[in-house]
Symmetry: C2
Subunit: 328 residues, 2 copies
């Protein structure tokens, strides 16, 4: 009933028709629809069953301030010049309070954002578990259906992030800047192990040291897995210096994955990850029906009175009554 209502309101059929004629407004509307009503994805994707076009997915990750957005803009510009269709997904960590994405990234990418062959989407962190991950995979599928050649996913952080880019991207570029953090920090952030390519951006501020550091670390570590030794490049995303070289490395890595057939595993990973996320999503949606916020509040009040060390006793009853079953 709810689904029928949605279908009528949004008229998926006509949106898809316009989408197939490369209408970017229809693409934007379908993304919004899937973001806000994930249950419509199945209905939308039914229209794409015959499509076989594939996009190459590149992840760009690094701490806030390293110039990811500008670099993504610079890479996009070169790709557009080559005649490529480019889809960008920019993942903004959002305040859990404001709930809205800050649009700084789109501001930064204005030099390319008006080009007819690029589509840029900023995503807010939804503040619940796995929300980003679910939406991102669906958007990559929409981009593939739209006919994008390359999808650039720009995201902050690794390790503690709810969204792990390497589960989705075929090539992951880790971006750093000179003078920012030392080796210990790099290892802490766990980034030295996830990059297929390392980029030291803002090379006008120096960066030979950090580039050499990463190089040494890559020599020491046993990360040269699958026969690929991650290269370290230096860029200046504002002048565009080094960006071409970076793109060359992305193409090299793509070729490496294809020749070694590792690409098959990376493509499959995308779906393994998605299925897990769908499963978590299903559980999250039923969770609120199982145990209400009011109950959790009541137990917290009880703990405040009984004493904090009784927390496990106080929650014991609550959990002992929850049953999970699977019909065979």
């Amino acid at each position: 009933m709810g689904k029928l209502f949605l279908t009528r309101n949004y008229d998926i059929d006509s949106l898809v028709q316009r989408f197939k004629q490369k209408d970017k407004v229809a693409l934007a509307k379908l993304i919004t629809l899937i973001e806000n009503h994930p249950e419509t994805a199945s209905e939308i994707f039914k229209h794409f069953h015959e499509l076989t076009h594939e996009s190459y997915i590149v992840g760009l990750t690094g701490s806030p301030g390293v110039g990811k957005s500008t670099l993504t803009g610079a890479i996009s510009k070169k790709l557009l010049d080559e005649g490529k269709y480019v889809g960008v997904i920019s993942i903004d960590p959002t305040s859990p309070f404001s709930g809205g994405a800050f649009l700084g990234d789109r501001v930064r990418m204005t030099n390319v954002s008006t080009h007819p062959n690029i589509f840029i989407r900023s995503l807010a962190s939804r503040g619940y578990r796995g929300g980003i991950s679910r939406a991102v995979l669906d958007i990559t599928l929409l981009y593939e259906a739209f006919g994008m050649d390359i999808i650039l996913i720009e995201t902050v952080g690794v390790g503690q992030s709810e969204f792990d880019i390497y589960n989705l991207a075929y090539t992951t570029v880790v971006i750093m800047v000179p003078g920012y953090g030392d080796s210990i920090q790099m290892q802490k952030a766990g980034i030295i192990e996830i990059g297929d390519i390392y980029d030291v951006n803002k090379k006008d501020l120096g960066g030979e040291d950090i580039a050499a550091d990463i190089d040494n670390m890559l020599d020491d570590s046993s990360t040269a897995q699958d026969g690929w030794r991650p290269p370290v490049v230096m860029t200046n995303s504002i002048t565009g210096e080094g960006v071409e070289e970076l793109i060359e490395h992305i193409y090299d890595h793509k070729e490496h994955l294809e020749l070694s057939e590792i690409i098959k595993q990376r493509k499959k990973n995308r779906f393994v990850y998605k299925i897990r996320e769908l499963l978590y999503h299903k559980i999250d949606t039923v969770l609120e029906d199982l145990i209400s916020q009011e109950e959790i509040n009541n137990i917290s009040d009880k703990i405040m009175v009984d004493g904090k060390f009784k927390i496990y006793d106080d929650v014991h009853d609550l959990f002992s009554n929850v049953k999970f079953e699977r019909k065979k």
Copy 2:
């Protein structure tokens, strides 16, 4: 049976006895026990039911490279000089591949780590949802039982992190550094809304600009909630400059929370958060029994053959058979 086995092996009773005599080795062992066997927490906490000691919990958060560990060390030193007992929890985002915490933080804090009245614990991100959060609350409870006056929790990032410090800390200090990111980046990181105190560290590199920026933003925003206008301080965690002032602000905020009785809500929040985490944990533990990795792999294989846009159809059957129930 498993529990009995554990109890015998670890001899919780004798560990707790030594713990109550302020034996730091016993504290370390109890933390490890709870980290690796969360189900022992209930057994351990039974011994503390009569304890009423409370610690004040301070969160220190900021991107990698802002000098959190050094600052935590400098704050600890001052607090130790005041005769305080200090418990530190340092949360390392770990590589999902290596699985172990990098001990850079403890290296950095060696100037205080040998003091008898401090205990420092580094935590690795466990790579599964909510793992950190569950362990952290239990460790704060152990620190409280041990008699710590202040607990400092040092953690990276906000927003996208799986562990949200403001759910646990009574006072949250957001740390930034000069020349690192601009206003847009700050807002992107969503940190401008979670701080009770803002600290610009590495003031030797300048920082008046960023401090003024934050000040303006705080003026503009409506974050002066609950009658507290977050102060902006500047520190040099290596020389110790400004650290005393920062601690004064922490005490001021503590007094504000106590006078306004907001502290009650913040204390309660800790448990609300914990109960949610326990609930998620229970679900995660049963999840693997419900749907195996092999099944997920099989479906992914099917998607690779059927075509990616059939993903929702292919997973539909899997989910339709999963039932969640709660006995009333």
